[in-house]
Structure formats: structure tokens, C-alpha cells
């Protein structure tokens, strides 16, 4: 975990500096030489690159992410703390909606294999996988906001602002899960223990609830980590398109502004979040699958 984080941090640091230009070059005004030099000295930008790296890592270990280079006086940590709950709210709801609908659709597709509900679900799933979020987002903005005028195109603050972003964000999860659950359920349905369950005299509903669902949901937990990342990366685009003041919004603008400390801060945050999510998924896995849990004990 620590090694992953270190690698991500190091790589981002040097890659970011490899981009031509610096925070000042994105400003429209041409600054006098003296001011420029003062600025560099203040943030240590006049030091050799490797020294800068060591300085950054030192403060990072202290938990200090520094302050924004573009908006002086604004600490990176404060920005993350302020904006991430908004992203978490949108992403969390989208993930939840995606999981519930995706799993439900997958179950339906498996139970009605090769009949129209299955065909319909798979059609939706393929669209969900192939159509990029920004296309879907623009289409939805156009129809529901511009044409039908049901929902606002963008903005933040009210529940109605969240509807389109959540739908768009959850679409990928719905698609992935519908396909995944379908195939894993079909596999479980063909297992011998399902025949055993039927031979016990259980009804179809009981067989599915007690024997099929749990066993087909297990492998689906693995792809949860990937979906969480999908939600995040989707959020970069979505938050900008819908002007949602989330962390993805600031992340993208920090890159445009070459706001070094903001880029570093948000990247470290994302990396840490992802690693933690993966850890949680692994832990969840051992809780729900007795085969993994007990191997450690024996």
C-alpha cells in the first residue's frame, strides 16, 4: 500500500514537472523579472528539481499538502476537505443506484435468458459500456434540460441538480454489473448444488434467494474496486460538465493552471482513496466468502 502510494506520488511529481510551463506562465500578464524571482523563491521553485521533490515528500510525511500556487493563502487540504464530500455524495449515490439497478437487471437477464427481457438488458448494457459519459451527459442535458425543461442543465445545491449527473455516472456501473451478474448467475445455476437444492423441494424463489444470489454476487465484489475508480474518473468529466464544485472539478482546473501543489495534493488523495477502497473490498470479500476466511485459520 505504502509502496503504491510512494510510486504514484513520485511519478506524478516528475511527470507534472515535465510539462512545459509553470504556474505563472498561465497568467495572462507578463510579470516583472523581480516579482517572478520572488515568487519562485517563495515556493522553492528555484531549487533543483530533486531538492524540490525531497522538500515536498518531507512536508507530505508531516501531512502538509502545502497551499495553492494559483490562489495564494488557500491550503490544498482545506480545498480537498471542502470539495470531496460533494463528490462523494454524487459518486456514492451513483454507485448505489448503479449497483441496485445493475444487479437487478443482471438477475432478470439470467432468469429470462434468450427471451426479450434478457435481450433488452443486454442492449442497454452494451450501450452503457460503449457510449462515453460525456456523450450521454450532453444528450441528457439536451433532452431533459433544453428540450423538455424538466431539470436544470447544471449547478449545485438542490436535489434536482443531482438527478442527471447521478444517472449518467451510474450508467457504467449498471452496464458492467448487469453483464457480470448475468454470466456469474448462469454459471451458478448450472452447478450441481442447485440441483441438490431443487431436489430438496425448495421453490424457484427460495433456490435463487438462498443458493444462487450469494454465490453469484461473490465474484462481483472483485469488480467493485474498478467501478469505484470508474465513478471517480467519470466524475472529472461530469463535475465539469454540470459545474458541480466537487474535487474532480478542482482537479481538472488545477491541471489547466499548472497549480503544482493542488495537482499533487489531489492525486495523492485519489491514490490513497483507491488503495483504501481496494483494501476494503478485500476485507469485504473475506467476510462474505467462507472459503477465503477460513483458509487463514487452518
Amino acid at each position: 500500500m505504502v509502496i503504491t502510494l510512494l510510486a504514484v506520488t513520485t511519478l506524478t511529481f516528475f511527470l507534472m514537472r515535465a510539462i512545459p510551463g509553470d504556474p505563472l506562465s498561465s497568467l495572462a500578464r507578463v510579470l516583472p523579472e523581480q516579482i517572478r524571482a520572488n515568487y519562485y523563491a517563495k515556493y522553492g521553485l528555484d531549487q533543483p528539481l530533486f531538492t524540490q521533490y525531497l522538500m515536498y515528500m518531507k512536508s507530505l510525511l508531516r501531512g502538509d499538502l502545502g497551499e495553492s500556487l494559483v490562489n495564494p493563502g488557500r491550503s490544498v487540504t482545506a480545498t480537498i476537505l471542502e470539495t470531496s464530500p460533494i463528490s462523494a455524495q454524487v459518486g456514492g449515490i451513483a454507485l448505489l443506484v448503479g449497483l441496485v439497478i445493475g444487479i437487478a437487471l443482471g438477475v432478470i437477464a439470467a432468469l429470462y435468458k434468450n427471451r426479450w427481457p434478457d435481450v433488452l438488458v443486454m442492449f442497454v448494457a452494451i450501450i452503457g459500456v460503449t457510449v462515453p459519459v460525456f456523450v450521454l451527459a450532453s444528450l441528457m442535458q439536451y433532452y431533459f434540460s433544453v428540450r423538455l425543461r424538466w431539470l436544470p442543465t447544471s449547478g449545485w445545491g438542490e436535489a434536482k441538480h443531482m438527478i442527471i449527473p447521478v444517472i449518467v455516472l451510474s450508467f457504467g456501473t449498471i452496464a458492467t454489473y448487469a453483464r457480470y451478474i448475468k454470466s456469474s448467475m448462469l454459471e451458478v445455476l448450472s452447478q450441481d448444488y442447485i440441483l441438490t437444492a431443487e431436489a430438496k423441494g425448495l421453490s424457484t424463489g427460495q433456490v435463487i434467494r438462498r443458493h444462487v444470489l450469494r454465490n453469484s454476487l461473490l465474484p462481483a465484489i472483485t469488480i467493485l474496486a474498478g467501478r469505484i475508480v470508474g465513478i471517480f474518473t467519470g466524475a472529472f468529466v461530469i463535475e465539469r460538465m454540470f459545474s458541480i464544485p466537487g474535487i474532480g472539478f478542482y482537479y481538472v482546473s488545477s491541471i489547466n493552471n499548472k497549480d503544482y501543489s493542488m495537482i499533487m495534493g489531489t492525486t495523492v488523495f485519489y491514490a490513497a482513496l483507491f488503495v483504501i477502497m481496494q483494501l476494503i473490498v478485500d476485507i469485504v470479500y473475506t467476510v462474505v466468502d467462507p472459503r477465503i476466511r477460513l483458509q487463514n485459520k487452518d
Binding site: 450441481d192 448444488y193 441438490t196 431436489a199 423441494g201 421453490s203 454465490n215 472459503r291
Partner: protein, 346 residues
């Protein structure tokens, strides 16, 4: 029609077909038999002869629309027509009155449910027990199938047990509701030989204790010898010979039965002797069969065998055989019995 001499289970003209892309596979072709209370009947035959399909058809466990039990078939259990039962009645039958254990105990148990829960499930469903009572009964069942440390084992998952143990758990599930019929579909095929003997002995003891009728499906005549009361030998979806264990082992009349008997490995004096193998493969069940299905592989095949299906000839009240060799005009051939071949049957 409850008569005094009625059989526990009676199957008449059972036909099962599978509808596949390649065509209609007639897996079971006109099979009739009966089973009485407490007796053991063995279905013997090689892979694909329809023995497993027949046993699954008894509980209607075959999946429509691919598998279909054809019109004119009749399965009567205690005078009730199984094929006409509605879903609810069928569910009440399965697991409570007729239950089944399968070939591979490694895959027949739900890997994410404790063994105890899988036994309790049947008890709560059919005997209306609450959790505590079912748990107690599940422990008792585990003891019944001779699993040591039942108190501890009840909370274990299948992967923590050996194959033999898992098959014992399967037997516990099957016998939990004290069914009238236990169908054992190749119960020992996937197990080590030593474990096989233990499981068979267990089944035999339990059958006597609980007075359960057993249908044993196997390809191994050696397994059947000490276990069954009656045997029916199946080939290409038909019963080619039926009889008591003694009749099949000592007085077999069908060339296919002879071939099966010769294929049983035995500890005889002439150990150098190579084990007999029957050449060829069974007929393709997609094709219609107008003649004896065994004709192509039969050492004693006569012209008539390739033209007409043999009728069953009754040799005694229990012994019947479908073979043209039984015709008075057919040549007399010396068959194979365990009398001359050794002591496989005992």
C-alpha cells in the same frame, strides 16, 4: 386405486427426450419398472444409457423445455401420478418423500453455506421445525451418518470436509425427512475405493434402520452385488435385462450383461489375465432405433438382430431379458456367469 399389492413406485412406458440443436435425443425409450417398500433396485449400465436420466425423471428434476418426459409415460408414487402433480405437491414430494444424492459430493453442496444449514433447510421446509429444533435434528442426522464431532461439524463449510464426509452430509440431507425412496445416483463414483466401501456400508445400514427403499444408479456391477435386491441392466435408454442379484450374476442371459460381468475386476488366481473390455460405443440416441440397440457390438449377433427389436422374454417372475437369443429357434450359446468367471458376485 389403493390396492393391497400395489407397488410403492411404478413406472410405465417412461420416455424422456432432449431437444437439442442437433435434433431430438431419445435418452430413455419405453422403460417400465416398479419398486417396493424397503427394497433396493439397481440401475446398471455404461455412460449415456439413460440410467441417470431415468432416476432424475422420477422426481421431475429434468429441465424443460430441453428435456421432456413424453406423452404416455406414467410414474406413480403411492398411487399418485407424479407427472400430473402441480408445483406445490411436487415440492412437497421432493426431499420429503423421495430424495436424492448425487455423484460428486465436491460440487453437490453449496460452498457458502454451512453443512448444518443445508441439512436444516430441508427440516424446516418439510417438517416445519424452528431453527433450534432443526439444528438439534441436524446434529442428530450427522451422528446418524457416522460423522464424528457432529456438534462441531454442523457449523463447518463443505470445503473443510473430505469427499467422503461431504457425501455423508449429502446422505444426511437426503434422509433428514425420512423419505420412502432414496435415489442414489452413482454415490461412490467420485470417491476413493476405501471410502466407497464405507459409504456403501453406511447406506446399507441406514436402509435397514430406516426401512427406506433405494434406487442405486451405478455403472459398477461390483458395487451392486452386495447391495441390491434386484438389478435392471440398461442399454441405449432401454432395460435389456432385469432380475434378482442372483439371477443377474448366475443366470444372466443378455450378451450385454455378460460383457458387464466380464468387465468387473476380480482377485482371481490368474492375475495375468487382462481385464475384458467391450469394444465399440453405444448407438447414437438421435437416430431412431428399429432393431436391437446392442446388435453392432454383440458377439452373437444374428441377422434378425439388425432387423427387429427383441421383445422381453420372461424367464421367471423376476427375471426378464430382451434378446433374440431367447427365441426357440436361436442357436444355444454359452453365456458368462460369475460361476465360471470367478467370484465377483459372491
Amino acid at each position: 386405486m389403493t390396492q393391497a399389492d400395489e407397488h410403492l413406485l411404478e413406472v410405465e412406458h417412461l420416455r424422456v427426450s432432449f431437444h437439442t440443436y442437433a435434433g431430438e435425443v431419445k435418452a430413455v425409450r419405453d422403460v417400465s419398472f416398479f419398486l417396493d417398500e424397503g427394497e433396493t433396485l439397481a440401475f446398471v449400465g455404461e455412460s449415456g444409457c439413460g440410467k441417470s436420466v431415468t432416476s432424475k425423471a422420477l422426481m421431475r428434476l429434468l429441465k424443460p423445455p430441453v428435456a421432456r418426459i413424453d406423452e404416455g409415460s406414467r410414474i406413480s408414487f403411492c398411487g399418485e401420478d407424479v407427472l400430473r402433480m402441480d408445483k406445490k405437491r411436487l415440492r412437497a414430494l421432493r426431499g420429503a418423500e423421495i430424495s436424492m444424492i448425487f455423484q460428486d459430493p465436491m460440487t453437490s453442496l453449496n460452498p457458502t453455506m454451512t453443512c448444518g444449514k443445508q441439512i436444516m433447510e430441508t427440516l424446516m421446509l418439510h417438517r416445519g421445525m424452528d431453527k433450534a429444533a432443526a439444528r438439534k435434528e441436524a446434529i442428530r442426522m450427522l451422528e446418524t451418518v457416522r460423522i464424528p464431532d457432529a456438534e462441531k461439524r454442523v457449523d463447518q463449510y463443505p470445503h473443510q470436509m473430505s469427499g467422503g464426509m461431504r457425501q455423508r452430509v449429502m446422505i444426511a440431507i437426503a434422509l433428514a425427512c425420512n423419505p420412502k425412496i432414496l435415489i442414489a445416483d452413482e454415490p461412490t463414483t467420485a470417491l476413493d475405493v476405501t471410502i466407497q466401501a464405507q459409504i456403501l456400508e453406511l447406506l446399507q445400514n441406514l436402509r435397514e434402520e430406516l426401512h427406506t427403499a433405494v434406487i442405486l444408479v451405478t455403472h459398477d456391477l461390483g458395487v451392486v452385488a452386495n447391495f441390491a435386491d434386484r438389478i435392471q441392466v440398461m442399454y441405449a435408454g432401454q432395460i435389456v435385462e432385469r432380475g434378482t442379484v442372483r439371477e443377474i450374476f448366475r443366470e444372466a442371459k443378455h450378451p450385454y450383461t455378460w460383457a458387464l460381468l466380464r468387465s468387473v475386476p476380480k482377485l482371481a488366481k490368474e492375475t495375468k489375465q487382462e481385464l475384458y473390455t467391450l469394444k465399440g460405443t453405444p448407438p447414437d440416441l438421435i437416430l431412431p432405433l428399429a432393431h436391437c440397440p446392442f446388435a453392432a457390438r454383440c458377439e452373437y449377433c444374428m441377422p434378425i438382430c439388425r432387423e427387429r427389436m427383441p421383445e422381453e422374454t420372461s424367464l421367471s417372475g423376476t427375471h426378464g431379458v430382451c434378446c433374440h437369443l431367447q427365441h426357440p429357434m436361436a442357436p444355444k450359446v454359452e453365456g458368462f456367469t460369475t460361476m465360471q468367471g470367478g467370484s465377483a458376485g459372491g
